[in-house]
């Protein structure tokens, strides 16, 4: 009969209306600034530079190899190599970036810089509240704004950070063994097997 479907629909919406006052689980809205959902481990938004130790300038892993700058699809990374060298985590003298800028307004969060970095020096941040009142200065963070400690990386992406730490430790052990072998006081110790790299961006 005419009107049956109408009545059925009206009953359904009435149930929704009153149900939303009775059952709190009907309301799936997250009231954002006050309430937040926990972020997924694979969440990513914008790259940052990892540094070891407390001094960001000394501990910066980046060696200014320019691979990320060349691979970046929207060309948002700008790097200038330093003139002098500083020791890296394994003690080897390396170049470091004199300037390292990333343009937030150009970056498309593709994570390619992270994939191509051979030094685990650049990683993805999950910070997304990046709005500023200054359109030009604040949207172009420099290396001191981008530098974040390794502990921060471990907190954001524990799986990837553990893999990166293992890789770096293995590298350092190899370098130490080589240095010892070069010193000639001991036969070279077998290098520890490198930990299989975990594909970054895949949540475990």
């Amino acid at each position: 009969m005419l009107g049956e479907g109408t009545v059925k629909g009206m009953v359904e919406t009435a149930r929704n209306f009153f149900g939303s006052y009775v059952h709190a689980d009907r309301l799936i809205t997250v009231q954002y600034p006050e309430e937040r959902l926990p972020q997924k481990e694979a969440a990513r938004n914008f790259p940052f530079l990892v540094h070891d130790g407390d001094d960001w300038e000394k501990g910066l892993r980046c060696v200014a190899c320019l691979i990320c700058e060349k691979e970046c699809p929207p060309q948002c990374i700008y790097i200038t190599k330093s003139k002098d060298k500083k020791p890296d985590h394994a003690g080897k003298p390396q170049l470091y970036p004199a300037i390292f800028d990333i343009d937030i307004s150009v970056c498309m969060s593709c994570q390619i810089c992270v994939e191509v970095c051979p030094f685990d020096a650049i990683e993805m941040d999950t910070e997304f509240e990046l709005s500023t009142s200054n359109r030009f200065g604040d949207l172009l963070p420099h290396k001191q704004d981008l530098a974040k400690p390794n502990g921060y990386f471990r907190k954001l992406h524990p799986t990837e950070a553990a893999a990166a730490d293992a890789r770096l430790a293995a590298e350092k052990a190899r370098a130490d063994a080589k240095a010892k072998a070069a010193a000639g006081d001991k036969p070279p110790a077998p290098a520890p097997k490198p930990v299989p790299a975990v594909e970054p961006g895949v949540a475990k």
Binding site: M1, L2, G3, T6, G9, M10, E12, T13, A14, N16, F17, G19, S20, Y21, R26, L27, I28, T29, Q31
Partner: protein
């Protein structure tokens, strides 16, 4: 005492001025009261509607401005006022400017004949219902003014849809109101409310509690929904089809005026439905007559607005052919049959037999016409021959 407090207040205020000025002052006070009360009601309704629709869709609705979001209309008003008023270069500027005013003026005029309480009507006109429909029809003019002057194909499409719809639904709207005029024997809204006074067996003698009155009320409310361009009859402004229809080229305060006009139109037509079928300002039970009459009127008005919001949250928009089929193949014949039912009700002896005859006369055509609407339509699960 409480019931007549506003009437007494008005008489006292009018008595303060010299006798020559009294008619003018009296009119100004009535107009100011109508505009103030109904504009406030508009503000309240917008936030209630958004919250109600939100709850129907399992959302919160606005809850940021003020406690529970009740100050949202204030923020919306400020926004509307400070927004840039854009007029298209190709627009007919004079008509474009006049269209929102031509909508708001008639709907406030229509409220002048709606009795909002005992002795509380701006003008007690002998032809009140006729006046109401006459000024109500003027809104169609403003809609077409807006659509035509914007020089935009969507706004013109919206205006043409609106005209077709409003003219089609004006017929059942008036025909369903005519039944009440036949029974009450008067076009005066005050007399119509008086004709529904008294109680019979504990129930009020409202016209909605008769077979022809119930059918007339439902027909009237459906037609009123179409007249006020509300969902499911919101084809003229269908956001997903023609963006916003005839007010696509309006912004800022003019857009707010259209919005206001639409809601005041809804209040006016709901007020008329209350006057015609729901006993106006009368209490539903004899022991509740101590509650002031205007409380009853506005209570009923809020209830009808709630129904409008509920329907809007439920029904999907009609298609143009469904709209026209419904108007001409169902609403119009039902309204005509209802006229006959009301006539029989008037001339048959009061009693059980009158109820049976009139109920059958309304129910039979309802079932048959409803079946006729679905004839030749392929309802049910849609099957695709090529795509799968």
């Amino acid at each position: 005492m409480m019931d007549q407090i506003f009437v007494t207040l008005k008489h006292w205020l009018v008595g303060l001025v010299p006798i020559q000025c009294q008619p003018v002052i009296s009119a100004i006070i009535s107009v100011a009261a109508i505009i103030g009360v109904f504009a406030t009601l508009f503000a309240i309704t917008t936030v209630l509607e958004r919250k109600g629709l939100g709850r129907i869709q399992n959302r919160y609705g606005p809850n940021r401005v003020g406690p529970f979001g009740i100050l949202q209309p204030l923020a919306d008003g400020v926004k509307a006022i400070i927004k840039e008023d854009l007029v298209p270069r190709g627009a007919d500027t004079v008509v474009h400017f006049l269209a929102p005013l031509a909508l708001v003026a008639p709907v406030f005029l229509a409220l002048a004949v709606v009795p909002v309480g005992q002795n509380m009507v701006a003008i007690d006109m002998d032809a009140g219902v006729l006046f109401f429909f006459a000024v109500g029809a003027a809104t169609e003019l403003s809609v077409f003014m807006a659509g035509w002057s914007s020089r935009n194909k969507y706004s013109l499409l919206g205006a043409m849809r609106a005209l077709a719809q409003m003219i089609s639904y004006e017929v059942p709207l008036i025909l369903s109101a005519v039944t009440v005029i036949m029974i009450a024997g008067s076009l005066s809204t005050v007399k119509i409310v008086e004709a529904q006074s008294g109680y019979l067996g504990g129930l009020p003698r409202w016209f909605v509690l008769t077979p022809w009155g119930l059918a007339g009320f439902i027909l009237f409310m459906i037609a009123a929904t179409a007249e006020s361009n509300r969902s499911p009859f919101d084809l003229p402004e269908g956001e997903s089809e023609i963006i916003a229809g005839y007010y696509i080229e309006y912004s800022g305060l003019k857009f707010a005026l259209f919005f206001l006009g639409e809601y005041i139109g809804m209040f006016a037509i709901s007020g008329l439905a209350i006057t015609l079928f729901l006993g106006g300002w009368q209490a539903p039970f004899a022991f509740l007559t101590w509650v002031p009459s205007y409380v009853w009127f506005f209570g009923k008005l809020l209830a009808l607005i709630a129904v409008f919001i509920w329907v809007r949250g439920t029904q999907p928009r009609l298609r143009m052919d469904q709209l026209m089929n419904f108007a001409w193949k169902f609403m119009l014949p039902m309204a005509l049959v209802n006229l006959v039912a009301a006539g029989l009700w008037r001339f048959l002896d009061p009693g059980f037999s009158r109820w049976v005859v009139c109920s059958l006369l309304v129910l039979g055509p309802y079932v048959l016409l409803g079946r006729g609407l679905f004839q030749g339509q392929h309802l049910g699960k849609r099957t695709y021959r090529y795509a799968e």
